[in-house]
Amino acid sequence: MKTTRRQALGMFSATLGIGIGLGNGSVFGQDKSKRVLTGHILGNSLAIHIPAIAALNEGLPALGYAPPKLTRVDSMQVMTQSIIGKSAELGEADISSTLQASIAGADLKVIGLVYANSSLVFVVNADKVKEFADLQKEGVIVAVNSKGDWMHAMLTGPLLKRGVDPDKVTIVEIGGSASRVQALLANRVQAVPVHIDQTPAILAKGNYKILLKPWEEYKLYIAECWLVGGEWLKNPDNRRLAVDIQKATIASFRRTNRELAYFGNSYRKYSTIKGAAQMTDEQLRPVWELLSKTARAWPDDGNFQRQQFKDLLPAYKSVGAFSKEPDLDRLLDTSITEQALKELG
């Protein structure tokens, strides 16, 4: 009797094990004939991300791929580690973490930009913070996504310019811009970087103001890139996929710049902001004009150039991000974008 029970248990656990294995391993219901890209994207998609996210979701299928399997990852540090650990093929990665990983010897390649100028601003609790110098006060906490990431670097530049010691500013890590908004509203932190289209909702909730706008401080501030593994890119099929990712991205950039309606549609579909689905094109026009025309965040040529990375290095160095000079030739693969531009014409 006992043995039977044990056998039953054994069979049960075997079935369970196989079930779990199958559930994790295979992709039921996917069209097997088409290539499925697995990608990690950041936790929140805001206006600035929309053309690139639309490119993955709609542009790639238009080029003959299956819809990609996208997972949201909040921490930018973790995002880069995901690509190194091969948890995903494509990552919407932070350039700062990527440079650090490359210096440490990780086999990574950047194939293009997710956008070419940041829409991120620092919003502060105006009761406690009136100017940059107030950030070093006792009881003022600044949240960034991950220490040493591009948001941290973006703040450090203006601080140094105004003679404020960045080391005296209390920095904590909160992944995900939506979480940072909540933390600011709950007065757990007093300064957070958020995207420009998240600000109206915050400013309406109390005495908050925008302390830092990158387009007033920097000529151009690139921040997020499409990241893949170096070994992965050596495979010809993957290389073809990479070119198509860039083709889709740049095509989406171009269309966004020309058509407010296309941007509006994508925004309503892919933005993670509350109430995005109900927003009209006219409500979105200001942010679209700012990002498309003033900030030129979605350049028609992808604007993926070595020089931009070189220009940013001083800002990243100021947050202690690098132990030595990064080898940009090893990290950047501009040929993918060149090929994509050639094919797009």
């Binding site: 650090q100 440490a104 904590v172 890590e173």
Partner: protein, 283 residues
């Protein structure tokens, strides 16, 4: 008094506080002790050395940040600049660890004895303790941020939350097992209540209190590093995050090794204390 002692010795030889969390490491530790006494240390040392050698050899096949070799950790530990940073971090880390552990002891000991000696109080509080135990402590972090902020107070609170339930369970079980007739023996020798408390109750409780401390200190060290990683990153947690940020796996691993050594040291200290206080109590 010697009669009381011997009756207690007999009692503790026949029973030991049985507890879910403690039973595992107890058995292993006493076994470890026996092995050491039998001078079978050699196999163990050989095992460690062989393990590290294999690891070192395997690590040569991978890049340094995928699998750092043990030699890289050793090199880091012998680097004076690193050690200075490490000592500072340890000093900071021990502060909230000890504060949280102290608080947990201060609450768990009286409450555990109360619950162990009074079945009704035990029946009232037991479901709540079980519920608290069932929730992973780290899930309380968002609450701690709301209540205590992101810094020292919050870290102390997390250490407390992690060490407290485990200790309470051991102490309650131990206090329940103290035999009533122990008190009767004391009284029949004409001892005052204070004398009974000092000479009978306390010595009878020491073995399971020591077990509770050993379980508790391991959890407190766990809480210490968890707090530094999950609240505002400071001390050892900041060192780990900084190393992880620059993809310096050897640096991360070195801190892991330090935390492990800290745990082993704390266990050894309590074992030494136990041996001193409980020399009459044979395992």
């Amino acid at each position: 008094m010697s009669t009381v002692r011997s009756s207690m010795r007999r009692y503790w030889m026949s029973t030991s506080p049985s507890d879910l969390a403690a039973s595992g490491s107890r058995g292993l530790r006493s076994r470890l002790g026996a092995v050491l006494l039998n001078a079978e240390r050699l196999t163990q040392v050989a095992s460690i050395v062989a393990g590290l050698l294999i690891w070192e050899l395997v690590a040569t096949q991978y890049s340094a940040f995928i699998l750092p070799p043990p030699s890289a950790v050793l090199r880091r530990l012998f680097d004076p600049a690193f050690d200075l940073k490490l000592l500072k971090a340890l000093y900071g880390a021990l502060q909230h660890m000890l504060a949280g552990f102290g608080l947990a002891v201060a609450v768990a000991v009286p409450l555990g004895i109360l619950m162990g000696r009074h079945p009704r109080i035990n029946a009232m509080l037991d479901p709540l303790v079980s519920a608290l135990y069932a929730i992973p402590s780290v899930a309380f972090v968002p609450f701690l941020v709301i209540w205590f902020g992101l810094f020292f107070e919050s870290r102390v609170a997390l250490v407390f939350i992690m060490a407290f339930p485990d200790m309470l369970i051991v102490i309650t079980a131990g206090a329940r097992d103290i035999k009533r007739n122990l008190f009767a023996v004391g009284r029949s020798f004409g001892a005052s209540p204070l004398q009974i408390a000092l000479k009978v109750t306390l010595p009878a409780m020491l073995p399971f209190l020591m077990t509770a401390f050993r379980v508790g200190i391991a959890r407190a060290i766990n809480g210490m590093i968890t707090a530094e990683l999950f609240l505002a990153a400071v001390n050892l947690g900041a060192m780990m995050k900084d190393s992880a940020r620059t993809f310096d796996s050897a640096g991360v691993l070195t801190v892991v090794v330090v935390v492990c050594l800290l745990g082993l040291t704390a266990q050894a200290l309590i074992a030494a204390l136990e041996a001193r206080l409980l020399h009459w109590h044979h395992r």
